[in-house]
């Protein structure tokens, strides 16, 4: 493989320093977290940043901790750490499942959760799982820190609402409510994850004692330009009593929410079918994770 093109390389030791460097650099400057997307993009020439700002020396960007019953995950936490974290596995099953099928083990050992969000791939594995978990990104900008729903960050393929000098510092997932369950599924070419999603779906449900769906989220990946909420599908479920027929109707509606492109990996029609199949599987997973049953 040919050498990367020349770039200015910095390892700032504070968020303030990093934001300042990004603000002062050319607009093509890029933040380096795990590098598993950025380095690929630089090698293929898709990105040619004149400046690379590595966040590795900034303290407190790594680790998973309790946050009022919810879970705070530092942006530089590696995906393979998220995958096996007891807090994540117990409280946020969709995220643990998405992390466990992202790329391959030697890539998961490098990739970071914050980098995955910032990269904003339409095929993101973590994106839909974070969306159905109501995850909030904490962002450090020139005006200090602020919080935004992960769902609201995505604006297009590879694009976010983040400003040039903004840095994602943490993802926080709220506490698990009683009756909550969530799950993530994807279909790739190589069996158990390992490669990019042809399509992916996450679901979360809050199921009441009488089987009523108190709240729900469905989010899709590789089925539109960004990871996004399948609002039509959600509206089928909300406030209804959980039955198999209802789940199937919601899955059918998800196929209507999907706006997939056709490309070398799958046709648009095939992906639309996958939206239904994967949404149904994700919903079944969420029901199981909530410890609920489904009436026939």
């Amino acid at each position: 493989m040919k050498r990367l093109r020349e770039f200015e390389y910095y390892e700032p030791t504070s968020l303030e320093e990093a934001s300042r460097m990004l603000a002062e650099a050319e607009p093509d400057a890029r933040v380096l977290a795990g590098g598993t997307d950025l380095v690929v993009d630089m090698k293929t020439g898709r990105m040619r940043p004149s400046t690379v700002v590595n966040l590795k020396r900034i303290p407190d960007l790594t680790g998973i901790e309790d946050a009022d019953g919810g879970t705070r995950i530092g942006a530089l936490t590696k995906v393979d750490v998220v995958e096996v974290s007891p807090l994540v596995v117990e409280r946020h099953p969709a995220l643990a499942q998405a992390a466990s099928i992202l790329a391959s083990p030697p890539v998961r050992a490098l990739a970071t959760i914050g980098g995955n969000v910032g990269r904003a791939s339409p095929a993101s594995d973590l994106g839909p799982a974070l969306i159905v978990s109501d995850a909030v990104a904490t962002i450090h900008g020139v005006d200090g820190p602020r919080d935004e729903l992960v769902e609201d960050l995505y604006t297009g393929p590879g694009a976010t609402s983040l400003a040039r000098s903004d840095i994602i510092t943490a993802l926080t997932l709220p506490a698990r409510r009683p009756g909550f369950g969530s799950a993530h599924v994807k279909l790739g070419k190589r069996g158990s994850g390992t490669d990019i999603a042809l399509a992916g779906a996450s679901a979360s449900l809050v199921i009441g004692d009488g089987g009523e769906i108190i709240d729900c989220r469905i989010a899709l990946a590789s089925l539109g330009p960004i990871p996004f909420r399948a609002v039509g599908s959600e509206s089928v479920l909300r406030s209804e009593i959980l039955t198999e027929a209802l789940l199937e109707a919601a899955a059918e509606a998800a196929a209507g929410d999907a706006k997939p492109i056709g490309d070398m990996r799958a046709s648009s029609a095939y992906r639309t079918r996958l939206a239904r199949v994967l949404t149904l599987r994700a919903l079944h997973g969420a029901v199981e994770s909530a410890g609920a049953g489904v009436a026939a």
Partner: protein, 155 residues
């Protein structure tokens, strides 16, 4: 522009001055002259460039040199002691777990890392861990045989 790295490679501490454009793979092969680590796709898909970083298998083609600073790295050259192959390496030889040998350093290192964590790993977990490495010769059954050889009989 050059950067300084303090790294431990196969038990030897090294101070390396390098170009931040280089990947760990390029530093290992071209500066340290450890060519046991191979470049396959160069974009993290094939796993051929796997080395152990602080004990974990990682794709060295995706690591910019600056990220290798302070890391303990093991390559296939670091496995044998005084020319004596490790148990895993011997098992690969015994079962013929390769044809062209290009993926072998990554396979052996990954299998070695699995057994350091758990000396009786579940075969499904082994398949998952090795799933990130492609073997274009299709030697997978023999590679699993080598792993089972090390795992021991009746397990």
């Amino acid at each position: 522009m050059m950067i300084d790295l303090d790294v431990t490679i196969n038990g030897v501490h090294r101070h390396i001055t390098t170009d931040p454009r280089l990947t760990l793979l390029e530093v290992l092969r071209e500066q340290v002259l450890l060519t046991g680590t191979k470049e396959g796709c160069g974009v993290g898909e094939c796993g051929t460039c796997v080395v152990l970083a602080d004990g974990k298998p990682v794709t060295s083609c995706l690591i910019l040199a600056g990220d290798a600073d302070g890391v303990t790295i093991e390559t296939v050259e670091g496995l044998a002691t005084d020319g004596v192959l490790t148990e895993m390496q011997q098992a690969f030889v015994k079962t013929g777990a390769f044809q062209c040998g290009f993926c072998t350093p990554a396979m052996v290192l990954t299998a070695t890392a699995i057994f350091r964590e758990n000396d009786n790993p579940d075969i499904e977990d082994v398949k998952k861990a090795l799933g990130g490495i492609l073997c274009r010769c299709g030697a997978y059954p023999k590679i699993l045989e080598a792993v089972i050889e090390v795992k021991g009989e009746g397990t």
